[in-house]
Amino acid sequence: MRGKQLFLHLLLKASWVRKDRALTALISVAVVASMATAGLTVYYDLENKLSREFRSFGANVVITARTGAFNDAEISTIKSAIAGKGAVVPVAYAIANGPGNTRVVIGGANLAALRNLNSWWSVQPADSTGTALVGTRAAALYSAKGAGFEIGFGSKKIQIRPKAVFTSGSDDDSRIYLDSSDFTALTATASNTALVRVDGSPREIQDAVTHLTSALPGAEVKPVREITHAQTAIVGKTRSVVLTASLIVVVMIMLCMVATFTGSVLERRKDFAVMKALGASDGTVKVLFAAESCLLALAGAAAGYVVGCGIAFWIGKANFDAAILPDPLLLLPVLLGSILLALIASTAPLRLLKRIQPAGILRGE
């Protein structure tokens, strides 16, 4: 048998004859690779997934006209800046006179859009043919049984029939929202405020704010700091927890794998001694052991990558109702990392063995 053939023969036979030993090594590499893949895949997609959740927080940017109302050009500037990545609801406010000489804040907006934006409102439907969304405190005062009432602005008056009563736990509870057309007919004013929901990561929201500020010189663009601040805090903290935890898990299991690998190489000191006694050089033995580990590591890491992608996918499906897709860019680092580790783990103990005479090992000393 020629040298190359013998080498290949030894390489494959070693794994084949001791299948269980090869299998434990393979499993330990696969476990490390799958945890590394799963942790990093989740980590990279987390900002995306969590930011999606923040859509339900409603408007995170409020734009107000400095003087007067928005013109159509300004509204379409805002809409095109958001361009499908969020929602824009123009609103107008005025103070009207309610029944019994009371004052009430009324708002004019597209009611369906407003209700969609404020998804956290708890809404009690009243009369489906009604014309207004009435805050719970306003409803308690004016329309305890869902009856209609009249409000006035200047000399004009309008009959309000509640379509639904909502609870928000904010100033909105004292307000009445009318459809824009009714509002303009009553007050002759147009929207001067736009509630904007920008979807995306904290950085993307900040970019949108910067863009809107320069595109709308006649308006004041303000992020709702309470919301954006909370989003930044949550996303940042969660990402660092996932990263730290995954790193720790990977490092620990990696050490575990190295221990298993090193142990099994040390157990093979007899193989080592026989080879040496038969005239193999230190280099040849080292290459043989290294090649064997590389082969195992490659197979283990490939299996681990697939399993890891599966775990990440499952976490996305089970928890975020949206799959976390595999990141092909991770494949190479995972493969190379596993091979490198296996190399270190299998060749380091050989150095220890080199110091011992083969005869000593074979005699069982």
């Binding site: 269980d20 476990v31 942790g39 309470e226 903290k237 660092s240 898990v249 299991i253 976490i315």
Partner: protein, 428 residues
Amino acid sequence: MFFRLLFESFRRQKRRKSVALLAIVLGMTVATAMLAVANDVGDKVNEDLRRNGGNILLTPMDDTLDVDIGGVNLKPLSESRFIAESDLPKIKGIFWGHNIKGFVPYLSDLQQLRVKNRVIDAELIGTYFAQTFRYGKEQFTTGARSVNGWWKVDGEWPQDYASWPQGSAPEVLAGRTLARQAGLAVGDEIELHGKTLRISGILNTGGAEDNAIVAPLHIVQQILGKPGEVQKVVVSALTKPEDAFGRRDPDRMTPADRDRWYCSPYANSISFQISEALPNVHAEQIRQVEQTQGKVLSRISGMMLLLTVAALFAAALAVSAAMAATILERRSEVGLMKSLGASNSTVASLFLTEAGCLAIVGGLAGFFFGAVLAHRIGLTVFGSPIDVQPVVLALIILAALIITFAGSAGAVRKAMRFDPAVVLRGEA
């Protein structure tokens, strides 16, 4: 004989044993740390959120409506109802008082300010910055500084004066936009109803406060002539995300359900307890914060839980593989024992006892290192330690035993299947 074999096995095979032990310790460290982090991450993020704004709004029982546009209160003070400031410490006395992380009262009115011989209209807002209370034996500090995490001050935060200071002008904050428009800077003085206030910092909130003067509550109460009164209070409470049970109406529950509802930290039940403690106060969850954050929090906890399951599985596999590897190498030992007449059960019990000893020692050490790690993760990510529940120790030891047994059992069975003669000749 059995114990001697056991003892000698540990004494003579130190390297092999230390590999197995190391694997168990590492695996159990991962398990402990991940369990602790997953268990605590929801609470930690929640606590972080509670430094970023309140989630329950207290308003006086009122038969008139708020008149409020763009965050500016336009209702004349004469028409307003109030909450007594002296009642506020009672918020800490409710059943879930421990979950109340802070509260911030507000009293505000539109006022005319005299700035450098000019008169401008601006809202005057009174609040706590870092007011200290005593409730029972507990000392408690609360205010905008701890609850409104997004308020940034350029300069110094004012102090919370108990009464009007003698000899010097009280310090207040000027909103960023107001300061820019009126040319106000730190150290300038403004005049209000003939009283002088000194600006100690410029406040940047991104909200209505940017156009206002924000001053210590007791100073504003004196200026507005409303001693001991506030208009609204924002409470920051640690709550449990609302589920179907939390949404139910307590008035329509059976007594047992009602007790369970009352003793769960839902925003609704905390609001209910606050309105019990403070008569004439209406407490309502701020739905935008409470409803949406709860959802995000449960997503985060869920994700950490799933990651933990994956990590536990990985740790178990890694430990099992390490155990199997060390035992597989000991076939000749099994062969020798069997050829000297040991029964399969004796051999198995020897190996399993060894594994059990390793599992207990490894589990203990792993729990200890895991607790240290969780503590460190908490400190680095959240600035407060994550503690491990002692009950986890029992779980970890149990898990270590199961995993090492599972890893050893297969390998021992396999080693016993071979004919001792074949194993001893080295042909297996």
